[in-house]
Assembly symmetry: C2
Homo-oligomer: 394 residues x 2
């Protein structure tokens, strides 16, 4: 494991701190990181005084570039085996593809060893880091039986010791409801085994997956096991998941393509973070959520990749930010805030997604003077450096 | 300058050759390149016989990945100074931005030295190469007076000697019609000076730019100077540019957001290549062209970046391919063909955009078993290697 670092990031053109009433710190700015945590954000002009004349901490010269918090990708399915490129190709060509869907990945994942699953996460988390992501929520859910769900969660835990980004595990045994009695089995058998390996419990509440009542059952028992509830809601159709998320005080309600104004108001009132996943709509060529609806209702939104082999196989938060600006009409600052502080709130974390005293020293130096470059240069590599807890990791 | 290389690319899972009736060569496949040109595409199994037992040519092991021709980006404005990130940000925020638009880049470009312009092209062409682009059309057009237009074209020529991708220069003095008498001046003064430095002549035929009659005048005189005509047509509104492009037998008609079925039929009948620029619509948050309209009419379409500081500041052909699949509903093979053979046809070239005997040895090894990965992994780095005339350049 990497040691918690001391680092001084210097000469930032500007910095998105996401802190308090002045979330943008105009430069030239510097960040002092000690033992992996942000000690202070200061003007470059005051840096010498702050350091009391001397410091032997390593320095990262931002060279007049913009600095933002490391991306917090609050919704991924990074643990799986196999891919579904041929199914994706068939969909683009309008060809029917038999034996596709989640169950195909379930079969491959059940057949994979723990080592294979770990290797897959390690490879993908490295790609996430290339895009500036320093914290990744990872859901299980391609097991749909106890042993594989447990193995997937163990793989997340093991991979977490091998990669630079922090991995945060969510139990998504309720990814489908494949057969009669499955929910009972999930509650009685899977949850006791899986809960110790996860911090959240998720359910896919939608047509063809779980009903509102089934989702409620799962999340309530998950709570009894100490798991924070979150919910896939209103993606394929409007089935009532958003209201359930508000009722249960979920940390997040995710997708929300078909949510209403009433749903947005309920989520905002309950402090549930709408996690929006535009790359999924992009890959599926389906409708996009209405991001402005949630902002207008007063919610703090998050942006995430939904990285999974079926409907959104990208690890790139810069792509998601650019897409959110184009299809949602977010400003660059709104989009980057959603991809950092918004993701942190969806994970109920106050130590990431910001650059302020006490926060983890997780930063991205943009390859440009402003974070608008993430959207201004879509598809290009716009990440100059990534810093994780005070160590330069890219 | 790089020497023309000998190279054997081995163990391709499959290859998009764009040649004849079997444009996809199923692997394992190999390409033999001699003196920078493709000698033969063969099955890996036949390679030993083809080489008559011995060869000292360097090898590139594709390791079971897919191979496509190098991307041909047939529409860019890569020669300019300054950027307009703040204007882009203001547009996203719905703020009015005074003094923006093409004229702002014109002012910065007029103030730039030849060396500065060369350096800008070199930097951007390197980014293009990162995305697998081996041929780039570059338009002048941010001078709007003779000396700067000439300097821009000279910069393209000089940069062409410094970068790996081939640069193909287009004279776009008719980027706007800024003042009375400008078109006369362009014809009498600019064209004689600029024509020797370019291979094509372009005009921006649209509301706020040139009329159909003005565009016709410019392109016809350009033809007299030996320049191939091409035209920005039907981008902002429908003004008749597509029909003009058909009438003049232009090599390409570009943008075509507002083109009709009749326009598509006329372009196809005249052999004019519709060059579609989805990244521009993405960045402007405006309407997308209807790509299928042109394919249904029997045209060969091209995809390009339109890379420019105002309306599409990306160099990434993989992003354009992914976007074309999502917004146009192209298959991955249709999109990659448009980004390679389509671009070549738009440049009236038969030695690029294909992998066949006599063609330049310009290849991309995709970081995956199929080129569908370009669209399956949007925003990610999907280029494993690029080869230019038999040399491994990335």
């Amino acid at each position: 494991m990497r040691a918690l670092g001391d680092l001084i990031v210097r000469r930032a053109a500007k910095m998105l701190t996401n802190c308090g009433d002045a979330p943008v710190f105009e430069g030239p700015a510097a960040v002092i990181i000690r033992d992996g945590r942000v000690a202070k954000v200061v003007s470059e002009l005051d840096l010498r005084d702050e350091l009391a004349g001397s410091s032997d901490a390593p320095e990262l010269d931002a060279e007049g570039r913009a600095v933002i918090p490391g991306f917090v990708d609050a919704h991924t399915h990074l643990v799986f085996a196999g891919d579904r490129a041929d199914e994706f190709a068939a969909r683009l060509e309008g060809r029917r593809y038999e034996a596709g869907g989640i169950m195909r990945t379930v079969e491959a994942t059940r057949a994979a060893s723990l080592d294979d699953l770990v290797a897959g996460i390690v490879e993908r988390a490295g790609r996430c880091l290339d895009g500036g992501t320093t914290t990744i929520e990872v859901k299980s859910g391609y097991g749909l039986e106890t042993e594989t769900e447990r193995r997937c969660l163990e793989a997340i835990q093991r991979a977490g010791d091998l990669v630079e980004p922090e991995l945060v595990a969510t139990f998504l045994g309720a990814h489908l409801n494949p057969e009669p009695g499955y929910i009972d089995m999930l509650i009685e058998e899977m949850l006791p085994v899986c809960a110790p390996l996860a911090s959240s419990c998720d359910a896919f509440c939608d047509v063809g997956a779980l009903s509102v009542d089934e989702s409620r059952r799962v999340l309530l028992v998950g709570k009894e096991h100490g798991l924070t509830p979150r919910l896939h809601a209103e993606e394929l159709d409007h089935t009532g998941g958003a209201q359930l998320a508000a009722e249960l005080g979920c940390a997040s309600a995710d997708h929300l393509v078909h949510a209403s104004n009433e749903d947005a108001a309920a989520l905002a009132a309950a402090g549930v973070v709408p996690v929006l996943l535009p790359a999924t709509s992009f890959s599926l060529r389906s409708s996009y959520a209405d991001a402005r609806r949630f902002l207008d209702a007063g919610a703090e939104i998050a942006l995430a990749t939904d990285c999974n082999p079926g409907t959104s196989y990208t690890t790139s938060m810069p792509f998601v930010v650019a897409l959110a600006c184009s299809v949602y009409g977010l400003s660059a600052t709104e989009a980057v805030r959603a991809a950092t502080a918004g993701g942190a709130k969806a994970l109920r974390r106050d130590d990431i997604g910001i650059v302020g005293p006490g926060a983890r020293g997780d930063l991205v130096v943009i390859d440009g003077e402003d974070w608008v470059d993430l959207a201004y240069h879509p598809g290009m590599d716009t990440i100059a450096h990534a810093v994780k807890e005070g160590s330069i990791v890219r």
